[in-house]
């Protein structure tokens, strides 16, 4: 009884948040005084610049200017970080990167680290994106069926998307280590001897691929699911009337109509996959050896972490990676424009 009484006395949540807003409201009132003067002085255009200024200033200082001076960095040498202390070397960084006797063999290059990580990244991107789209597509198809508790199942696949890459990396390091869950399952089912998976080159690569798929597939499945649900139901009803086989329905109706979403998923997946770092770095640290060293980690280590740091080389490498991303982004924009046109028709 007394509990109920106390409940009535306590502030409801809305009243409480209203109370917290009082100082904010006061500040906004005070700010209004000089702003009114500014508005009288400069009119609506002045107010537009006022509203734009903070965001654009931050954006300019921390995105736009670095983006531009990155090109300058890539043409300087030395290990100093401030531009003023660096010297101009022209295109030497790029020449070093492309100085290879054979592009297929990283060890024949002057900058073998770059080519090793570039090759690793290319292999990773191809395998990871292919498998992930396959898994995402199956998941979306399964979730699009009339199943009991659909929102629960959707949540199951989406859950890892929000986890931090560090947490993802640690969870899986813990599972793949010698006394881990994977070895327990293999031991119980098949009597396998425990094995340190992350110290094996091929297993570490497979782990990086598998773990990033685990962490991201829910996101991509969600986009595909939205696409599947946008396909008109009457198409399927008509196909059922005609007694069309399900595999035929899939290849003749579902897949063609899902193509726009599949392209979006493909390009977004590629863009994110090219930049792979966090999960793989926490999981394997780039090892064993350099078998899971990817481009972003190479840039990070060249730029900051290693004793023989070379910011100019790191900048040149980052521009090359950026060029790949720009191409992918343009492909995506072209694809989405084509989708819109198709939608209008």
């Amino acid at each position: 009884m007394s509990n109920r009484h106390e409940g009535k006395e306590a502030l409801p949540a809305s009243r409480l948040s209203g109370l917290m807003m009082v100082p904010v409201k006061a500040v906004m009132q005070v700010v209004d005084v000089p702003l009114r003067a500014w508005q009288r002085l400069t009119g609506l255009t002045g107010m537009a610049s006022f509203f734009l200024l903070p965001n654009m200033a931050v954006f300019g200082i921390f995105v736009l200017v670095p983006f531009v001076i990155n090109f300058v960095y890539s043409m300087t040498g030395g290990s100093e970080i401030f531009l003023a202390q660096r010297f101009y070397v022209g295109a030497a960084q790029y020449r070093d990167i492309f100085d290879c006797r054979s592009y297929l063999d990283p060890s024949s290059c002057v900058e073998d680290g770059f080519w090793v990580s570039a090759r690793n990244t290319a292999l990773f991107v191809v395998v990871q994106v292919t498998l992930m789209i396959l898994v995402a597509l199956i998941t979306a198809l399964v979730l699009n069926r009339e199943i009991i508790g659909r929102s629960f199942w959707r949540a199951v696949f989406f859950f890892p998307v929000l986890l931090s890459p560090v947490v993802v990396g640690l969870i899986w390091r813990w599972i793949l280590q010698r006394q881990g869950l994977l070895n327990l399952v293999l031991y119980d089912l098949f009597g396998f001897e425990p094995y340190s998976w992350l110290t094996d080159r091929n297993a570490a690569f497979a782990a990086a691929v598998g773990v990033t798929i685990w962490a991201r597939v829910g996101f991509f499945a969600l986009i595909l699911l939205a696409g599947l649900q946008a396909i008109p139901k009457d198409l399927y009803e008509a196909a059922e009337m005609d007694g069309t086989r399900r595999t035929r329905v899939f290849f003749r109706i579902t897949l063609p109509l899902l193509m726009p979403n599949l392209i979006v998923v493909l390009v977004l997946g590629l863009i994110r996959s090219v930049q792979v770092f966090d999960e793989a770095y926490v999981l394997t640290g780039g090892g064993p050896g350099t078998s899971t060293m990817y481009l972003t980690q190479y840039i990070y280590e060249k730029g900051f972490a290693s004793d023989l740091r070379d910011p100019g080389l790191a900048a040149a490498a980052s521009i090359l990676m950026g060029a790949v991303l720009v191409v992918l982004t343009l492909v995506q924009m072209a694809a989405s424009r084509r989708n819109e046109k198709q939608g209008e028709r």
């Binding site: 200082i61 670095p66 399964v142 199951v156």
Partner: protein, 350 residues
Amino acid sequence: MGNVLAFLTRRRGGDRWHWTDVVTWVWLIGGLLVMFGPAVWLVLSSFKTPAALAEFPPTLMPYVIEEVSVAGYDHPLPLYEVRQADGRTVVLAEVRRIGIIAQMVDPKAPGAIVKVNIADRAPVEKVSFATSNYTEPFVHFDFLRFLWNSVFVTVMATAVTLLINSMAAFALAKYKFRGQSLILIVIVGTLMVPLGVIMVPLYSMISALGLFNSLWGVIWPTVATPTGVFLLRQYMLTIPDELIDAARMDKASEWQIYWRIVLPLAAPALAVLAIFSVVWRWNDFLWPLIVLSQSQLYTLQVGLNVYAGQLNVQWHYILAMTVVTMIPVVLVFVFLQRFITRGIATSGLK
């Protein structure tokens, strides 16, 4: 038997089970195990003692050996079930172990010491949660410090993001001025400039501004999100201009229009951006790793990585800290999942 099977698999509408139904349920159940299993395993492991963590094969639940106080011994002694020569088993407490022979006593009659081959005994175990894994990192590591740094970065970055993004979005949605479309193109064009590409010059920029080894050095580069501006602008375009004109008639200043009319009406879009911003900033790793080099400034993600990268990893602490790091995101997931999934499905935001 055939009838039973037919009964169990009978479905509405009289359809038979298609092979795709089997695939569906195999995929769902398998997905449940693969997606949730690792997280559940993490949580269960985080309650184990270091000794239990080093065992193979590991147990599912956290077990410890049961102990008992025996008269004449200072410390509680571990209990074992001992199989005797005549086939009976008795419960004895171990005093010490020399090679493969354990010296044991009967807790009820602690006088005589019995020598037992260690192959003939099995520990008496009980489920016990080692909550000290959770309490000790607060003392041994700067865990509370990391937690505070993460909360500070997340809250500040989200607040600044909401403020400056919504102001810019308001200007882009409700004013006409020269260069408007240029700004929009720049914003959309840089949606895809990832940190990995501008890492080196951004680092020098941060250093030049004296923000190296400062939490604000982590916050500033992340707040002017093009995604946020774009999302809010698209939403504010749907607010009718008549509302704003009416407010101008009533002598409201532009700032008041932004603050008292547009912001409250854009609340749903602001909420989506806030949720995403919290998750992004809480999970950020690479940039804090570059900017923060002093351990009292580490965020949770960086701190976790550093402690997990040590030669002698103290997994019992790491696992517990990982669980704590997961909690805010899991809460967001449980309570706000609908908003997030809708946001992704409609705008491809991530």
